[in-house]
């Protein structure tokens, strides 16, 4: 029991992003309303962003800008600095996500204009007509 507890608590960041991941995937696949699909997509993307951000976190670490000690020598202790790379990657991925969201919303608007609805079953019915 104790081991299972540690297994879950010790890696809680992975569990959190996994749960979000599946919520998002469920929303994208199972929801009938296209807007809800988009919301699912955003949750799905955010889960991955959080996953990346959490792996760059480090307790007691500082920003990766070299500091100088009292004797004017640089403090080159790698363990004292956080790894900036995951965060930088995620900045790019956030931009990609926003762009995707924008395109999705624009297309959704067009769908609404053409079919008069954003419910998937009604759109399919409209196409059959």
């Amino acid at each position: 029991m104790d081991e299972i507890f540690h297994f879950i608590i010790g890696k809680y960041n992975y569990w959190a992003s996994l749960v979000l991941l599946f919520i998002g995937l469920y929303g994208m696949i199972a929801k009938n309303n296209l807007m809800k699909k988009i919301i699912g997509m955003v949750i799905f993307q955010t889960a991955i962003l959080l996953f990346f951000v959490s792996i760059g976190a480090k307790r007691g670490a500082t920003v990766p800008i070299i500091e100088f000690g009292p004797d004017k020598l640089p403090l080159l202790d790698a363990t004292a600095y956080a790894n900036p790379l995951p965060h930088v990657l995620i900045l790019t991925a956030i931009v990609v996500g926003v762009a995707t969201l924008g395109v999705a919303l624009a297309i959704l608007q067009k769908i609404q204009r053409v079919h008069g609805t954003i419910e998937e079953d009604e759109i399919l019915e409209d196409q059959r007509r």
């Binding site: 769908i111 759109i123 196409q127």
Partner: protein, 516 residues
């Protein structure tokens, strides 16, 4: 020197063209067309220069962006494989750009600049994906090309919006899986550069790491969704068949081929032959999937009444060929897969262009549009026949030689299911195209004129608008701007077929991964 910067210029030229087209608000359609042609021609020129340099020096070009050394900086790697794919992508893009003179202008009467800007941006993304030597950089470029393809596909209007929306959702799932896979690899290795990753993964302490295996699985799954491998293909036929003529010609041949190339890169550059086929023993399952894709794709294509639906299912089947070739795990299969990327890129382009011209002239998208094309559009018909021959695999077209290598590789590996699937798919393709040709030769022209509906395509454009009925034997050949790229593509199918040996010896042979 210009040549030293060629790897960067391949990508920067179309990107720059795209930016100019976006920012310069009121360019005339001719100016926009000219700019697009310049951009695509520039890419092709620099791709050829880079490939030439790779072949003469017989070593890969490693171009450091901004002179930051890898693994910290992003590098572009052009070797025999990526050089070939770069030339293919930029050549197909240039041909489609020439072809687009009439169709794009009529599909986008109001905002041709923006259409062409997306066109150039898509090509930028595809070229960047091919040249990139960094897995995260590849993700960004993957999304750039995906986003611009959503924009282009949604230009098809009407039913295209909903089809594009579904593609967007599925495409995002694919790209996110790929990104998640990168995360797993990054946690374990701390690197994003492909060659650096390969070196770290090959260390004995990571050989049995579960995280690495999950990372690999997620990346490959993401790429499979992107390239529409059966049974993940459902989005492709809908999205591609509702698009405008130019968009279909650009996206259908290139997007999936570049995704296959990325699969090869991940399998053989980031991971290694030993790792893929020993540690991750999936090849049996994947070969079954690929065989199913080839057979089911072709049979579904045979069942279609709509010309463009038919072609998109052929694309699904062809993905099966290439995936199978890559996973049979020997040099012949790999050669077949890479050669088929080239052959299939060209033959899909050829078919989409010819069918696009027929749709443009008749305004119909059903098979009935093919009636009497040998009389009305003789050159287009010949192009279509050459493309069909290549899909079926009749020598001397390149389709025959790629299938020859694929079957050879499958037989060596003892993957008889895949051999059978390739042969059955060819047979079905033959039946399909003979059915099409039968309609073309013996179909009744009168029936075409009277047939109601089906004509929600691009309308008949010039000549017979005023006087209704088509003259029975009048030639209605496609305009010159469409004919020239079509004929070049058809000719290249035969030329590539005749020079198979040279292509395999001088280019593909050098890229065969160690371990085969």
């Amino acid at each position: 020197m210009m040549i030293d910067q060629a790897p960067a210029l391949i990508i920067i030229v179309p990107l720059f063209v795209s930016l100019v087209l976006t920012l310069a608000g009121s360019l005339g359609p001719r100016v926009a067309y000219g700019l697009l042609l310049c951009g695509m021609a520039g890419s092709l020129l620099f791709s050829l220069l880079a490939l030439g340099q790779v072949v003469t020096d017989n070593q890969a070009i490693h171009y450091r962006m901004g002179d930051w050394p890898p693994p910290m900086g992003i590098e572009l790697v052009i070797d025999h494989l990526s050089g070939l794919v770069l030339v293919l992508v930029s050549a197909c893009a240039l041909l489609t750009a020439i072809y687009s003179l009439r169709t794009a202008a009529e599909d986008n009467p109001d905002r041709l600049n923006h259409y062409y800007a997306l066109f150039a941006l898509l090509v930028t993304g595809l070229l960047g994906m091919t040249a990139s030597g960094d897995v995260f950089n590849l993700y960004v470029l993957l999304e750039i090309s995906a986003l611009s393809s959503y924009g282009l596909l949604a230009r098809g209007r009407g039913p295209a919006y909903y089809a594009t929306f579904k593609y967007l959702i599925v495409g995002t799932i694919g790209a996110c899986f790929y990104l998640l896979g990168i995360g797993y690899l990054y946690i374990m290795t701390g690197s994003l550069n492909m060659l650096d990753l390969a070196e770290i993964i090959s260390r004995p302490e990571l050989q049995d790491s579960v995280s690495i295996k999950i990372g690999f699985s997620l990346m490959i799954l993401g790429v499979w969704i992107k390239m529409a491998l059966f049974p993940l293909h459902a989005w492709l036929p809908n999205a591609y068949s509702k698009a405008g003529i130019t968009t279909a010609c650009l996206i259908a041949p290139l997007m999936t081929k570049v995704s296959v190339y990325i699969m090869l890169r991940i399998m053989f550059t980031v991971f290694s032959v030993d790792y893929i086929f020993d540690s991750i023993a999936w090849s049996q399952v994947v070969i079954y999937l690929a065989s199913a894709a080839a057979v089911i794709g072709m049979i579904t294509a045979l069942a279609q009444r709509d010309l463009r639906m038919m072609l998109t299912y052929i694309v699904v089947a062809e993905i099966g060929y290439m995936t199978g070739g890559a996973w049979v795990a020997n040099a012949a299969g790999y050669t077949g897969a890479v050669y088929h990327i080239l052959a299939d890129g060209l033959m899909t382009l050829c078919l989409f262009m010819a069918v696009g011209a027929v749709i443009y002239r008749t305004g119909q998208t059903s098979l009935a549009a093919m009636q009497g094309i040998f009389k009305r559009m003789p050159i287009t018909a010949v192009v279509l026949v050459i493309g069909a021959a290549s899909i079926i695999g009749i020598p001397p077209t390149c389709g025959f030689f790629s299938k020859f290598y694929l079957i050879q590789g499958a037989a060596q590996a003892g993957a008889w299911v895949f051999v059978a699937a390739l042969l059955i798919a060819s047979l079905v393709a033959a039946v399909m195209f003979f059915k099409m040709l039968e309609i073309a030769f013996f179909g009744d022209l009168k029936a075409l004129e009277q047939e109601p509906g089906g004509g929600h395509g691009h309308g008949s454009h010039d000549g017979h608008d005023g006087h209704g009925a088509l003259p029975a034997v009048a030639r209605q050949e496609a305009p010159l701007s469409m004919l020239i790229p079509m004929v070049i593509t058809a000719a290249s199918l035969i030329i590539l077929g005749l020079y198979t040996k040279e292509v395999v010896n001088y280019f593909i042979g050098w890229s065969i991964p160690a371990g085969f």
